[in-house]
Assembly symmetry: C2
Homo-oligomer: 427 residues x 2
């Protein structure tokens, strides 16, 4: 007998029939003797409708009221799921964020969980109920409703799993796991069976969707085992857990990419003390921009180039602030390149295998892919390349690092075309 | 400076534009120096959609979960209204049932209010906020969400008005007040400016919609003045309050009717002790039927007839139980008449004016309306007549008791046709 926390995203509960399917899965777990806690997102796109309503009434709606409105979607889906479970003849009880003891700070629309008081959940489980919790929401010390922001429901699930010391936190989504690379880009992509927290964090941080870095971080902190899998099949997905470093690991686990950033270069900046600090404090304080990779060239004739990447969403503000910084510092100009892609290779095996970076750069060079920026961590190497060279770059690296599905046991025995079609359909 | 509680029904907040109109009305009150608490129902027919979803998932959905689901409609409308108020530059804060301190018993889907803890509302009002409360909902001693059932939002408003000792509880609806008779039946109907609690209760109990008996009862208990008026105009509506009995009052305030009942007669029942008790305990315990008017004929030859009225909705169960009772008691037969109407004349002035009943019966007789049952209270006379004679009966009584609008100052100066059109449009 184990305790399972199972989280279902919006697409998994988008229709009454899908809700019934989810209910059946939970009832099966329960009849197998497990304690079950479900965490649900709002049905389908219902949250979008609420956002549209709020926007029509007040484009600068108070965050407190936005949270009240947005939290209702999960209240509907949790009670709907509890009803569907009861219709199958099993006891179920739903819990809103405040009923489930999800205590947060007062950071409306992006609140942080401070504590999970699991008393009511434990009482319900002990009484034989399947507990159904609203994802994405909590309550602050004033007694006001909060929401957790992007990826909030996954974080709710991991927090509850941590609070209850669950055996596993299953995260059901519309894809069937974490892949060595996005199958839409390369049909040879292979599902990863197991991955460590650190690698998953690096992949999440480098643009591989599926799991948000935030919930993986919390899972790592509390040692929660995550099973990321499809709500539309019974195939196992990807397990995220602490991997034993002494076991043989894949050198490279996966490849992530991100086409949502631009590269900004400020050229011929006088190379004085504090110049970089001035540039990036302006970007943080004035432009409120997220800055990702940063490189600074060697100084030549007392001048240097400073380059960084920033999300396209922040680019307008970065341009404006950048023009001022150029003038203030007496630099030559600001150059923006929007047609770039960031490509990252991630693997815990890198720690003990030198030469991965060299192999990566050589492979790219052999395939005429030009690298314009590089950044690394202990288990990740990221490069910025031209966007139109991304597909070629992914393909050659996927092969070079032995990730192609033909090199390995192919569990589902699907052809590459079938895998690609399945992956495309699932998204 | 006064404290105003203003309740808005579903049609009054059915669209974003209507929500903005409500917000403007509240902001106007506030800038005039009043403290303002709004109570809202769910937007338009949104609750119906939730009921349909619940019914699809589980026709016997647990009441606890139904309440969670149905309570979300008011959470959306309250936060929407708070956003709209803030868009007009005024501070607003929304409160769910549990945040507004609406404590109830655990009678899910028809909970009764046990206490209103107004601390948070008072704090918000003192800080200059317009408080916006969810109608229809509360929280029980277990910390579970409850809903108050039919007419719940009106009851919420009156309970809050009582708890805050508000100067008035305005109930905004889609009609502009309480009329001497339903204007759809008789275009000479006249809006009543003031009416006492008792008369309003009798009218509500006899089928005149607008206000539910439940909220009027609570208003009477706590001395809350209700102002029932239209959300779509600024005309005053009908004030419901304790009327000074020493002042001259209209003998008859209004006429109510109800076509949703059937008349059931059990004929030739042996007139033994306990026969009536047996009939009506069977109807209560076996048929779970609401029984309204009851008459028992004088005994003749040791046999009697027992007649009563019951809602058409309960009739199937009443028929079934009635057949058994006929057999058990050795009565002759059960006769059901579904084409009846109950017609009631209500007025506090009846107390001090004898002969009202006689005048009513004579007027009906003069107009060839046959009376088949009669029941009375201190301020009401109800008769059961044939449904197809209802319009004629209402018309002659409306004139006989001086209720026709032409007999009186016609404030809005509308023609009968315009009044009828307006009333028809408003419903």
């Amino acid at each position: 007998m184990s305790l399972i926390v199972a989280k279902f995203g919006g697409t998994s509960v988008a229709t009454p029939q899908r809700i019934v399917n989810v209910a059946q899965r939970l009832v099966d777990y329960s009849t197998q003797g497990h304690h079950v806690v479900a965490v649900v997102s709002a049905m389908g796109k219902s949250t979008d409708d609420l956002v549209a309503l709020a926007d029509e009434l007040n484009p600068n709606a108070p965050a407190r009221e936005l949270d009240v409105m947005l939290s209702t979607g999960e209240l509907v889906s949790m009670s709907a799921l509890a009803m569907a479970i009861e219709a199958l003849g099993h006891k179920a009880m739903s819990f809103s964020g405040w009923q489930a003891g999800m205590l947060t700070d007062s950071g409306h629309t992006k609140a942080k969980i401070t504590e999970v008081k699991t008393d009511r959940l434990i009482q319900a489980l002990k009484s034989g109920y399947i507990a159904v919790c609203a994802g994405f929401q909590g309550i602050d010390p004033l007694g006001d409703i909060t929401t957790l922001g992007r990826g909030g429901s996954d974080t709710t699930a991991v927090a509850i799993a941590a609070g209850l010391h669950a055996d596993v936190c299953e995260i059901y989504t519309d894809v069937d796991g974490v892949y060595t690379v996005d199958p839409r880009l390369d049909p040879r992509a292979r599902k990863i069976d197991e991955i460590g927290y650190d690698e998953m964090l690096e992949l999440a941080g480098c643009g591989a969707g599926v799991l948000q870095a935030r919930c993986v971080e919390m899972a790592r902190t509390y040692g929660v085992v995550i099973h990321c899998r499809s709500a539309f099949s019974n195939e196992p997905g990807t397990i995220v857990k602490e991997l034993d470093d002494t076991m043989e690991q894949a050198i490279v686990s996966g490849i992530a990419f991100d086409k949502s950033e631009a590269k900004v270069t400020i050229r011929d900046v006088p190379d004085n003390v504090g110049v970089a600090a001035r540039v990036f404090s302006a970007m943080a304080d004035d432009a409120h921009a997220n800055i990702d990779m940063i490189i600074q060239n060697l100084s030549e004739n007392g001048q240097t180039d400073i380059s960084f990447t920033t999300p396209l969403a922040d680019l307008a503000r970065v341009r404006e602030t950048g023009e001022k910084v150029v003038e203030e510092l007496g630099a030559r100009e600001m150059v923006v390149d929007e047609s770039i892609a960031k490509l990252s290779v991630v693997g815990a095996g890198m720690r003990s295998n030198p030469g991965i970076a060299a192999k990566m750069f050589q492979t790219l060079a052999d395939n005429d892919v030009n690298i314009s920026m590089i950044s690394t961590s202990a288990i990740r190497i990221s490069v910025v390349i031209k966007a139109d060279e991304l597909e070629r770059a992914v393909s050659c690296l996927h092969t070079a690092f032995g990730l192609d599905s033909d090199d390995l046991f192919e569990e589902t025995m699907l052809s590459r075309e079938e895998l690609a079609a399945k992956a495309a359909k699932g998204r």
